[in-house]
């Protein structure tokens, strides 16, 4: 099987506190993988390990391996900056750049990545990215509005467009819908389904219905351990582990 990411024995610590314990998982190319589990079990920590977002956190430490394109991102002289261009991220709280217009927000990743682009090339990328994020129809006439003046749902889609503009291969999303109303969250869900043809998506979610609808596979975390990972159908109807069953039936967590 063709894997976009292979995680082997990944452990992570904040200071003395071990947050991830021997996580091993394969993430298939062009699939949607949901990461679920009770609050504090290490979901965010885990996906932030996949694009080395913890690099600047004081006291943070990892062991184990994460393979991307056949190379271990933690040892094989990988430049985290280049890695993050291939492995994009959307955060729980929409975080458009303040004091930048919609256009600038989407263009900013390209603007600073070295290659010179003409104004019209830039405009093309912005349009394409906003279209993919299902935002073009609403905003094509308002590209000079401040990004922070949009509604929460629009801001989150703007952040998705911003991430797509640098043409990553993998998109990591940390509870992208948790700050949104049901309509906005349904739109993001549609978006994830559309994007899954071309992108590998790893999404943290607390919403089981959502995970059931969008994911090819679901990973269940508990207290820093990967309890099990399987197809959504299997996890939600017939989980192998009793703890997974207890969680999805709402008996704890």
């Amino acid at each position: 099987m063709d894997n976009a990411l292979q995680v082997k024995d990944l452990c992570a610590w904040f200071g003395e506190h071990q947050v991830l314990k021997n996580i091993t998982m394969d993430i298939r190319r062009n699939s949607v993988t949901s990461v679920m589990g009770p609050s504090g079990c290490g979901k965010s920590t885990f996906i932030r390990c996949l694009n080395r977002m913890h690099d600047l956190t004081p006291g943070f430490r990892v062991s184990g391996e994460v393979f991307f394109d056949g190379r271990n991102i933690y040892t094989d002289r990988i430049d985290p900056v280049l890695l993050r261009r291939k492995v994009g991220m959307v955060f729980q709280q929409p975080n458009p750049f303040p004091r930048m217009s919609v256009f600038e927000n989407v263009a900013v990743g390209l603007k600073f990545n070295g290659k010179k682009r003409s104004r019209s090339e830039m405009a093309d990328v912005v349009e394409k990215s906003l279209r993919m994020a299902a935002l073009w129809d609403e905003l094509s006439d308002h590209l000079d509005r401040p990004g922070t003046s949009l509604s929460g749902g629009q801001q989150q889609r703007l952040c998705i467009a911003r991430a797509l503009a640098v043409e990553p291969e993998i998109l990591l999303m940390d509870e992208p819908c948790s700050a949104l109303d049901p309509t906005s969250s349904a739109r993001i869900e549609d978006l994830i389904e559309d994007l899954s043809d071309k992108y590998t998506i790893v999404v943290v979610t607390h919403n089981m219905q959502q995970a059931g609808r969008i994911s090819d596979s679901v990973a269940f975390f508990l207290l820093g351990e990967l309890i099990e990972m399987d197809t959504a159908a299997k996890i939600f109807t017939n989980p192998a582990d009793k703890r997974t069953e207890e969680y999805i039936t709402g008996r704890f967590g």
Binding site: M53, L56, K86, N95, P98, N113, A163
Partner: protein, 278 residues
């Protein structure tokens, strides 16, 4: 029941009035100063005040044009050096300053901010005037820069710290290098606040007098070079005010009026930027 409610409301009202009175007492001096300046400075507040050189005693008319130019020159020099140094040190403290060196810098900057300005004037005198054997704009500017820089360093740092971590993470997650994230995303996000800090520091140094006594010295004529004694409004106000002549006293008031006008304009601009560009 009623009585208690009444008493409570009366107490509420009384405390509120007390606080309001205190607040009024705080702003009262400003209005007294402005009113007094307008009253006494108005007589000399003519167009020639800002276009003419000072006239000798007894000769009517004359202005403080050279002082205005001198003040702008000295402040401009202090800022030309102080803005890059101050802003970059502030960036260092906010974005990279976790270690012992940064704590030491922070502590020293706060110390420097607390040094009485006359001592900075003497320092400028020892550093520039003695070796060069003359008073100069350079000496004055470096003394003022030492007042300017600490304020800029600390406001830059404070303003950058108000930029949420999520903004930095958002930029890093796009594969933008850290230094570009800092310079083009984080600093830009805080730019209104940083600019406000710069303007307030500018308003502060424009009125400083003591450091200039030992460095700029003053000059009755147009400045001839940055390595020469130079006029400044606060110095002119000071000299006119301690003179025994009535018409010079009037000019002191008018000069003070110009000075406070400049400070008000700059402070208002700073407030405007802080409010509008947020």
């Amino acid at each position: 029941m009623h009585a208690i409610a009444f008493r409570r409301r009366a107490a509420d009202r009384a405390t509120k009035v007390l606080f309001a009175l205190c607040a009024f007492a705080v702003v009262l001096p400003l209005f007294l100063i402005l009113f007094d300046l307008l009253w006494k400075g108005a007589r000399e507040l003519k167009w020639t005040l800002v276009t003419d050189l000072p006239h000798p005693v007894g000769e009517p008319g004359g202005g403080i044009a050279n002082g205005i130019l001198g003040t702008l020159t000295i402040a401009g020099l202090a800022m030309a050096g102080g803005i890059p140094l101050g802003v970059m040190s502030g960036i260092y403290l906010a974005e990279y300053g976790r270690g012992k060196f940064a704590s030491a810098v922070r502590f020293s900057v706060d110390m420097l901010a607390g040094v009485p300005s006359i001592i900075l004037g003497i320092f400028g005198y020892v550093l520039w005037v003695l070796p060069m054997k003359r008073f100069s704009a350079w000496a004055a500017a470096s003394a003022l820069a030492m007042i300017f820089i600490p304020t800029v360093v600390r406001t830059t740092e404070e303003m950058l710290k108000t930029v949420p971590v999520s903004v930095r993470e958002g930029a890093l997650a796009l594969g933008i290098e850290r230094w570009k994230t800092t310079l083009f995303i984080t600093v830009r996000t805080a730019s209104a606040g940083i600019l406000t800090g710069i303007l307030l520091a500018m308003a502060r140094i424009i009125g400083e007098t003591a450091p200039l006594l030992f460095t700029a010295l003053g000059n009755q004529f147009w400045q001839t070079g940055l390595d020469q004694p130079i006029a400044a409004i606060p110095l002119q106000v000071f000299n006119y005010a301690i003179s025994p002549y009535d018409d010079w006293h009037d000019k002191a008031w008018a000069g003070a009026l110009v000075l406070i006008g400049m400070v008000l304009v700059i402070s208002t601009a700073a407030r405007y930027i802080a409010r509008v560009k947020k």
